[in-house]
Subunit: 371 residues, 2 copies
């Protein structure tokens, strides 16, 4: 993998990730395909929406159907019929969200398989091996997240352990295929972030910002980005893990982040929340029952060009599969279009104007939500 910086606008960067499997234009948003599918959406549709790279979860796939199983079937790309680049999360965040069911030690994370109750040791070495088995293009180091804002000593201990695990991942990865990204931890504490970054060194193919979206406020999160992003190696991609809402992406792009992933657009779509040029709307709301308007009148996706809010409202209320699917398709498309728009704006040095326009659009929501 090679990162190419094409243009800058303030701190924001326009770039390209070159993989053997294709190019990813950055800033990029990766939809989440936890179990090797973006819920309800085909690889062809993802491509049509402009998606160039997907995220999957190594820990989930390790548990079911098993990463060795996927390897025996030719790897994850073939398994899910996605020929573009794939990034896998190592499981650090999943351990955080399941922390009451895990035991952490220096060796790794001991967890009970929800499949058969068997104990599984997710060590840094095991996390790398699982990602090798999947055959992904970008591997993530195993890290330890802590709830924020927590006390500094807990954040420090987790950061230092994450650092030792990252170096073990690097050792386990060696020169194997796939680009290994390190993850900067340290919670909301600038000195810890600084120490984490220094400890990782400059031998990772990319640098992720982990341990955000775990309870801290938006201000605290932006303060971390303000402080940290300018110090990340400028010749490597910068990946903010697990965020977020359209405004979160914009604020991070503005500060120089290149890559994103989040379940928000897909998960919320299944519950009827659509992100649009006029802000978000929830199609379950009775206000949409009689609306012949497209979900997003400014959107050109299949959903918006063929169906009314009234129909999607009906499908959601009936639990019809097509509803979840059409809503997801729209949100995936919306996120890709947003990134596309931000990239174009950076290219011509008009990011701030673009951001102002996006935000102004979202604030016009009330006018269309009632028609």
């Amino acid at each position: 993998m090679r990162y190419q910086l094409l243009a800058q606008d303030g701190q924001a960067r326009l770039g390209r990730l070159h993989f053997a499997r294709g190019i990813v234009d950055t800033p990029a948003f990766m939809p989440v395909g936890t179990y090797g599918s973006v819920k309800g959406i085909t690889p062809c549709e993802l491509r049509d929406c402009g998606v160039q790279m997907l995220l999957c979860n190594a820990l989930h796939l390790m548990l079911r159907p098993g990463t060795d199983h996927i390897a025996s079937l030719g790897g994850l790309h073939r398994f899910m019929s996605w020929s573009g680049p794939l990034l896998s999360d190592s499981g650090g965040y999943q351990v955080f969200s399941l922390r009451h069911r895990c035991r952490l030690s220096e060796e790794g994370v001991l967890l009970h398989s929800p499949v058969d109750g068997a104990q599984l040791m997710l060590s840094p070495e095991r996390a790398v091996a699982a990602q090798h088995a999947l055959g992904v293009d970008v591997l993530m180091a195993l890290d330890e997240c802590t709830h924020q804002p927590g006390d500094q000593s807990a954040s420090q201990a987790a950061m230092e352990r994450s650092l030792r695990w990252a170096l073990r991942c690097q050792e386990a990865h060696g020169n194997a295929p796939g680009a290994l990204f390190g993850i900067v931890q340290g919670g909301i504490f600038p000195p810890l972030r600084e120490k984490s970054l220094q400890g990782l060194g400059d031998n990772f193919a990319g640098y992720a910002i982990g341990g955000l979206a775990v309870g801290e406020s938006a201000e605290q999160r932006l303060a971390v980005l303000d402080e940290l992003v300018p110090r990340l190696p400028s010749d490597r991609p910068r990946y903010l893990m697990g965020l977020g809402k359209p405004l979160d992406l914009i604020e991070a792009v503005r500060r120089g982040v290149d890559m994103f992933d989040c379940v928000l657009p897909t998960r919320n779509a299944r519950n009827g929340q659509l992100f649009t040029a006029r802000g978000s709307l929830n199609l379950r709301n009775a206000i949409h029952r009689n609306s012949l308007s497209a979900p997003d009148p400014e959107c050109s996706c299949y959903t918006c060009s063929h169906f009314s809010r009234a129909y999607l409202h009906h499908l959601l209320r009936r639990g019809e599969l097509l509803g979840a699917r059409l809503n997801t398709l729209h949100n995936v498309h919306y996120y890709q279009q947003l990134m596309h728009r931000l990239r174009n704006a950076i290219a011509v040095g008009e990011l701030e104007r673009c951001i102002t326009e996006c935000i102004a659009g979202w604030q016009r929501r009330e006018a269309t939500c009632t028609n």
Copy 2:
């Protein structure tokens, strides 16, 4: 609507239904879109599979979201974004399957709405009005089904009531847009079927065979078809309601039936049962866990050209939405291809050879189910 008979092969008929909204080649299979969507599948995909006409359920839509509501939004075609012909079931079969929650009288069926518990009188006039509100191309008369093989007097009473209701439907329909089909009842009793047919007269746009697939054996069903189909008006389409498996369709096509609908291909797909050129297979079965084979190696649908049985097995086991969708797409495609093949065979007078080949293919299933 106009029916055009193009060719015959034995009793089997090749024909065309001409609607203002398009042509339907017969024998035709209509996928079921109960609530105004074929579960998980878009109108474009249905078209791509060769679907020319869909069925929806007037009673379901009457209860939720309401047929007047759909009318106020421009009718069902616009609501669901399907520009081809639509046929609506009147609710007779739904009443049969919910008979413990309904009370039948000469006036109609009194049922309790599952939405708010309110009483609803589904009379012949109300059934026609609901279908007018939907704006469908083919309306079905309201009928009364009875369990088979039941006693002849119960079947006779239901048949006679269905007859009176059919004539009331005809009266209510008048010259309104849409083709009204009558439904021949009478269970497994030839004299009752004969009386039902005579009672309907020859003023219906098409003739359906109702009250099958309600408990009778396959032999009893075929005996009804053998007896009844040749007596149906030859210049009108013949529609066998609610069937069925691929072999059921073949046996009925052979006997001169033109139209079919059934939830089987779509409902069973969601549970992992695929219909293929080598018989049916259930993807939940552990035997498919390691199979790199396409679900149906002879099929050219999107599912079969992109995904392995192992992947579909995984999606099903995980309850991933994409699994239900891909399986449904295959089954819809398979049923359309089967009808296409039967039509081609009738055109060249080789239906029997075609049927022999289909059945021989299904019997080769074991060879591929284990790879």
